[in-house]
Symmetry: D2
Subunit: 144 residues, 4 copies
């Protein structure tokens, strides 16, 4: 993000692949990567200083997924520790974009990359704006 | 249930086993049977003449699971059609009990049996009573 | 498929949204769309005349997902019937690409679109070629 | 542990409830408790000194679930840390039984209890006996 091409600000969290997440190919089923991205987002929020649960329960605002994509490079296996790395790709007070990497913990091997986009909505799922108290978490300047 | 050992009143619905539901043992993962029981309950409600979705959305009452059990006799495999058979085991206006059988469609082979128990709650998840308009569906006499 | 820009050849299958597939937002959780795409692929294979299960069990070849993406237009709800429409986007004997639409059955409203890409592998998950007997299903000419 | 009927030997592991695991009731969906029991079993094996993954991959033996039950006392919510407590209830070299408790981490409140039973099978899913090298982990005496 810095002018010198520094690494984006990834937040890391570790997930252990569950038996439930494998399929008969003997590897983690592809839809689970989107679940792991969500685990990554929750960890990202916590690392930034808030709980996504509060945005819903207290502030009655939601981040609804509008796009998701994943490129699968190498399979994940039962009982492997994987690192879910989450960074904010872009944000304004209406649309939030995240980027993800999933790596095998033992050797840092890249297993997958992905992106999601989310629109901010109110409790009725209508497009809205990020509540002011969350702006700083998403690196948005205070509103004047 | 009748003195002559008549069959309980099973409602049947067919589910095709999904790849997502298999695990690395090459068979359907055990937690999915509880999902299929839920598919069976939804089919049971429809067969009785109502939608469970309406009980929640319109009548603000919920059937919260308090017990679930399953005995696995024989595995289910990807792409197999299975028949989920659901019957009301017992009901009063506070607690509902269902029984289930899961059979392979091709040869009627029994794959699993199970039970669930549900308490009726209001929208705040507090114990409540079945709304009157649903009593008949559960073979309960009208309230006087 | 026709030279005049005709509709691609979509195979349709209906899925009823399960309670298990909803989340606390009251709508179907986003990862489930990838499960529904898989249900669509299985239906597509069947409509073309083969079972994907056989490609694995008998021919020891696998279609491993390497890319998946989904654009979510409108949410899906519990008990709604949705139509999963699957078409072959592009295929050679090493890589298969599918396209999907998910529509609400009641009014044909578009809920989501998506794509997946799959590489053909052998039983050891090494890149391979589509077994000859499957070429016609994917509109590939016989090998000489 | 003690001769005087002390507490069974529970192994504990912490799980954070995922958004994917909630349903439209706003609580964790009931089938996920069986997934958490599996997470508990994997933690139990690790605590005893082996990996369940190795029993499958190296020793070609499987623990297939034949019974599962759960009593739900109090709901689990998104982002809550829950403690899965797993103990061996009974074991011989053909059948293994586990017991579970799920507690909210913040206040130790009991959310659910459960049991599972597993039969030991070979790679073809035929009943077999626990490989000798695993006997001690299940508190079974060496075979003579």
């Amino acid at each position: 993000m810095s002018p010198k091409g520094a690494q984006p600000d990834f937040v890391e969290t570790v997930v252990n692949v569950r038996y439930a997440e494998t399929d008969q190919m003997g590897i983690a089923y592809y839809a689970n990567y989107l679940v792991w991205f969500e685990v990554g987002r929750v960890a990202w929020c916590k690392a930034k200083g808030f709980h996504y649960a509060d945005m819903e329960a207290r502030d009655k605002h939601y981040l609804i997924v509008v796009e998701a994509s994943c490129r699968y490079k190498s399979p994940a296996h039962f009982e492997e520790d994987i690192v879910v790395r989450t960074s904010l790709a872009r944000a304004n007070d209406r649309v939030i974009r995240y980027r993800y990497e999933i790596r095998r913990k033992s050797d840092n091997h890249l297993l997958a990359t992905g992106e999601t986009a989310h629109v901010v909505t109110d409790i009725n799922h209508k497009p809205s704006r990020l509540p002011d108290r969350y702006r700083a978490y998403f690196s948005l300047p205070p509103r004047v």
